[in-house]
Symmetry: C2
Subunit: 368 residues, 2 copies
């Protein structure tokens, strides 16, 4: 019995399952690729662990539509505004970044602002698309209220990733894909599983205190009695206002350009406690390096910067200095050979999907 799944097998299963719930053929490829890219990079918080709760269950609950109606409602040479009509976020994001890249290739830069979308997977997938095309890619999205503003205790801003990728002359892109909070729920779940406290300063209670009891935090985040601290922490001493500021920028770029929803509109819960559509907003920017001094010289200089950073003096006890995207590349080097390790909770969800979708041809190795 193995808890490892081979990539071809897993891809086939995820595609057929998306298909079974009504996602059209072309879109299935995109949805599966975004989902599994996360697992390939070791970002387990956004991989198959989310397949059932964030995608399949939401389609079944009618909170998002399996068929994506991608509508460009306004367009200029370099910009577009898209209404996603509550379709598949990964598909909306993929098409949007494609439009931004096409505009960048023609005019030097491109930007697409999206409204009425749903969870778009890892932001880095989309910014990496731009890097693949020789562009600098930027993206962000708003999300359910989680972060409290500096001097506040109420969850207001989403974890609002501010994500950037660009190519270098190394075998992997620079890719910084991170929330503007210090940590996210997934990390606290990990601390709880390991029986560890959550580091002080990452979560704030309604009384303004730094919460550390991981199980209590998971409960309080659910009820809104706790909120995540922005990057930089609670208050101003360690410059929490900077993370708060970046989270706010992402919120505005995800709502004001496209006249979409924001902050407390994004709870996903209606007046009577019912599940409602999220109406998320995103933005996608592509900047063509060829419109400046050229791709090759850009890649060389970017690579030189990475190498100088990595070869600088390490802290005593530190094994190495990484640059963004490097750890994910190293994990993929390993996982390409081994396949994906899947824990028991995810195993159960995959079996549940298989049975519910009637995909009788699939039998998982961990069932043997």
């Amino acid at each position: 019995m193995s808890n490892y799944l081979e990539w071809d097998f897993l891809t086939d299963f995820v595609e057929k399952a998306f298909s079974a719930y009504g996602v059209p053929e072309d879109d299935v490829k995109i949805c599966a690729d975004v989902l599994l890219q996360s697992d390939k990079k070791g970002i387990e918080s956004h991989g198959v662990n989310r397949f059932k709760p964030i995608y399949i269950d939401r389609i079944k609950d009618g909170v998002q539509n399996p068929v994506t109606d991608f509508e460009i409602i306004r367009e200029t040479p370099t910009t577009a505004v898209v209404d996603g009509h509550d379709g598949m976020g990964q598909v909306i994001a993929h098409h949007s970044m494609k439009v931004a890249i096409e505009k960048a290739k023609k005019y030097g830069m491109g930007m697409v602002a999206v409204r009425n979308s749903t969870h778009y997977g890892i932001a880095g997938y989309h910014t990496d698309m731009a890097a693949d095309a020789g562009c600098i890619g930027m993206s962000g999205t708003n999300a359910r209220p989680s972060i409290a503003p500096t001097f506040g205790v109420e969850n207001k801003l989403g974890t609002n990733p501010l994500t950037v990728s660009f190519p270098t002359d190394e075998p992997f892109h620079f890719s910084l894909d991170c929330a503007t909070s210090i940590i996210q729920r997934g990390k606290i779940e990990l601390y709880a599983r390991e029986g560890k406290d959550t580091p002080a300063g990452t979560v704030i209670g309604r009384d303004g205190s730094a919460l550390t009891d991981s199980n209590q935090i998971l409960h309080d985040l659910q009820t809104g009695e706790a909120a995540l601290a922005p990057l930089g922490g609670i208050g101003e001493e360690l410059s929490g206002y900077k993370g708060y500021g970046y989270a706010t920028i992402v919120e505005v770029l995800s709502a004001a350009l496209q006249q979409g929803s924001f902050l407390s509109m994004l709870t996903g819960i209606g007046e009577n406690g019912e599940k409602t559509k999220f109406h998320l907003g995103h933005f996608f920017i592509a900047i063509d390096t060829e419109a400046f001094m050229g791709l090759d010289s850009f890649k060389k200089t970017a690579g030189d910067i990475m190498r100088e950073l990595r070869s600088s003096q390490k802290a005593p006890g530190a094994e190495r200095i990484y640059t963004a995207g490097e750890k994910e590349y190293l994990i993929w080097q390993e996982r390409e050979k081994t396949g994906l390790p899947v824990n028991e909770s995810v195993q159960k969800e995959l079996i549940a999907i298989r049975d519910d979708a009637g995909l009788v041809d699939f039998r998982f190795p961990f069932e043997d």
Copy 2:
């Protein structure tokens, strides 16, 4: 005897002094406005306290040229690469953002990448120019090596601000102008003057420890025995890799697009300890809100987001929740009436410039 200087008087003095050291008439206006905008907003680290050491002394030392040769070396509809030929950073930045805004007004977006520049003042001045024009403005610059990468102890990256402004329907712009380190040297100088320790986690020593002795830190930063921690702190526990990542993005956008200098090339000190030109790089982005759903609706939604954040539940003991740019606006409301308070150290520098430049008509109130 007053230590307050009236704005008209101070502006006149700064302009005549820049002029006396060879800055041409039109450029003098820009240089003075950038410098004093900082004092008007209460960002004293970048105001007249820097007039002598960062601008006048550097002109006198031949490290930067008072006459700016602003050369566009490559251009497309939306982008331009500028060589600043070691002229006045404020002037180079002003012209660059103007070009970016013009391109944005025509094509929706504009970006200018600059090499061989010098200190450009507060980044927020330039991004506010974009906001004044109804655009989203973004800017960053590299700088002398100060920040150590995560798991490193060597000062490598500049304090590399990642700055964003945009208009709202309120009387002031949203304007987040901040370094990607937690704090900067100016703040540590303040702690030292107040006899306070520097918060643990903001500065790292070569032995990997968190330094807190403010006077020792100021010495060690000078010798390179200490380095600033990125936003998020030392190590990964509070996500220091995110601030490190953002600092790296700014370094790359300030060097790779324009084929300019970076990291250890930017010490300003030559092989034999002599002062050398800095060859800084910057970038400027303007995104026209009119290319999306329009300026008015953008301002309204952005304002709504600010108001919802400020009216959310405050931490016990917190007087109010601010949004970026608000504190600076409130300070200007006050200072517009009072003029600028100038401390003794700056008073001496202003007198020294006056005497050196032979501006005999100026007599400061603090001399009475």
